[in-house]
Symmetry: C2
Subunit: 373 residues, 2 copies
């Protein structure tokens, strides 16, 4: 009798053991709503028998793709063959935008979330975790006087940092408008890219400081405040220079020399990178703008443009990366020409891509090895 | 002419500046789909004109709540007044489970994601960020021999750790079945709870090590492997004892004495806590089981039960917390009685709640101050 009760208890509790919330009645978890096929096409499949129109969107295609409904109420769509990379996707179900709630690979931003899948290649990608020494990523809190809010910074420290004594060069790495301070790690795998580059001897061990570039508290401390458009050009640069860098240099063993300090960022963060980097040539000697938003460059960078000799003497590296299919391509091309006209030394790298994360992982893997040489 | 072009460029690019992916055509981001009202009720509102049935589920109510459709195609539901806490919610739209894609406060698990909101009280909560010194949270990678996979550990280091020299006591803190190694920070705010307790002088500065308790690589390194039910009782304890603790003690200045080592966990992690803690009395002298899954305790803990004197001598603290409305309450009550019958010294704390995260934040805030005294 007692044994029977125990067996029943065992069976019952075993079933509960993997339920996040026993009694919540949510039913079993579903597998993610995609399958990567051997030919590197990807099939999305979603059960929504009542829906009349379902699409899937993401950076695997430039427009939303209509899904097809089968008799059993399942919708599906298969992509073209995709190059090995990490992609994102969301569904629209009768106009309701939904990410894949059963996929733990989140592309979480400061206002929206989507989900990600990876198409593996024959070789490990630069952003894949490998059996190499791993650095750590630290989530730090600081109080921003400029933003009048507690904010978070993610910081990569390279393998061996804990046990070494010396100071390290630092890269300040800025996210895009929809991302957060976590984006370069959780979406970009910047830490794993650094681990792999360092293990191969291709990049110098460095500290990578990833602040939050929008107003208000960081997204995971509460919903983001509405963002005035003028902000990225005004408040954030002061926050970075006056709050973030002093905090980082107080907390970590970072060399405070401009020859050991770099700045890079993507999209909105590329705009901030140019604003901050080109206007603080005594602070940063390395600049990397990945698919940057370029606004009124004659005015924004007038000091640097007016003094090409001084700018070129100070800047040891100035890279701009942009995809040919990016809607920002024309403005970046104009900026490239402007820099050339003013004889500002720089490298203009054009990819075949558009405004997507797989670019930025690639750009970072190309850019980081060039730093602090 | 040139000025006009520049102004147009400015306007056009300003509009792009806050778009995550120019050219993707996703439209503007929506605000989160809830409003916390002044009377601490919460109204959910969701636009889904084509849908025929929409519900909202979460830990604010024990069952899914039907939403009501207005003529404009908007669905809404208002909760009862809620006590100040953090809650989660998901929608079901014609049977499709969706989290709120416009809310950055994610409750991300290893298989499913939901979204969270906070009902603020008149006073700051123990889990709110406060203007006090903050510790850091570090994301570490290690290779688990037991799981044959790279895995991630989140580690809280208290304020002052960087600049101090001494060794710290350590709490090994385990997540629930649906969560990941990140859950105690991103959902539980364990780091902010520790910051606040330390600032008030209520808890000793300690290192909190948060490993991943399920098989396979950590969720953010790839979709989780299917979990054999027997696993938590077999592989993970060995991983914790033989891989996690040595890694943590090598990487951080942690005291290696059992008097300075505690283990705690929630739900599945509460089960693991009991398995590991009660079966390794020379390793852990403090045990906290939060809403634990208790399976066959006579057998699972037969050594501890057979030697109450030895167990009581070693264990400096043994707390079990359970909500009276939890479906696990009866099994925990039986376990309490079993421990009492065997004269194992312990404290059995009953809350008025069920199997929900707001318990676990409360339990942690109650438990952490009792450690290492």
């Amino acid at each position: 009798m007692r044994n029977t009760a125990l067996v029943l208890l065992w069976i019952g509790l075993s079933a509960l053991l993997f339920a996040q919330a026993p009694g919540r009645g949510r039913g079993p978890a579903q597998p993610p709503s995609y399958t990567v096929n051997p030919d590197r096409t990807v099939t999305f499949h979603l059960r929504a028998p009542e829906a009349t129109a379902v699409t899937v969107s993401g950076d695997f295609a430039q427009t939303p793709q209509a899904m097809t409904k089968a008799d059993d109420g399942t919708w599906s769509f298969t992509t073209a063959a995709l190059r090995p990379a990490i992609y994102d996707y969301t569904f629209s179900i009768d106009g309701f935008r939904a990410n894949d709630p059963s996929n733990p690979l989140l592309k979480s931003g400061d206002r929206t979330t989507s989900t990600m899948f990876e198409v593996k290649g024959d070789q490990p990608a630069p952003y894949d975790i490998q059996p190499v020494p791993h650095g750590a990523v630290r989530i730090e809190y600081y109080v921003s006087k400029k933003f009048e809010a507690p904010r978070m910074i993610w910081v990569y420290t390279p393998p061996g940092y804990e046990t070494s004594k010396g100071r390290y060069p630092a890269l300040y790495l800025l996210h895009g408008a929809g991302d957060t301070e976590a984006g370069w790690v959780t979406i970009g795998h910047a830490n794993l890219i650094m681990d792999n580059l360092i293990a191969e001897g291709k990049a110098k061990p460095m500290i990578v400081v990833m602040p939050y570039g929008r107003p208000g508290p960081s997204a995971t401390l509460g919903p983001a405040a509405p963002a005035p458009v003028a902000e990225p050009g005004v408040i954030f640069p002061n926050d970075l220079i006056e709050d973030v860098i002093p905090f980082a240099e107080k907390t970590y063993r970072i060399s405070a020399k401009a020859d050991d300090r770099a700045i890079a960022g993507l999209s909105m963060g590329g705009n901030q990178t140019l604003q901050i980097g080109l206007n603080h040539p005594d602070t940063f000697h390395y600049i990397g703008a990945f698919s940057p938003v370029v606004i009124n460059p004659e005015q924004a960078f007038k000091n640097a443009l007016a003094d090409p000799k001084g700018t070129n003497q100070k800047l040891k590296l100035f890279y701009i990366y942009i995809g040919k299919l990016d809607t920002l391509f024309a403005s970046n091309q104009s900026f490239d020409q402007l820099l050339t006209e003013h004889q500002i030394r720089h490298t203009f790298v054009q990819s075949e891509e558009w405004h997507v994360w797989r670019n930025w992982r690639d750009y970072f893997a190309d850019f980081a090895p060039r730093l602090f040489r």
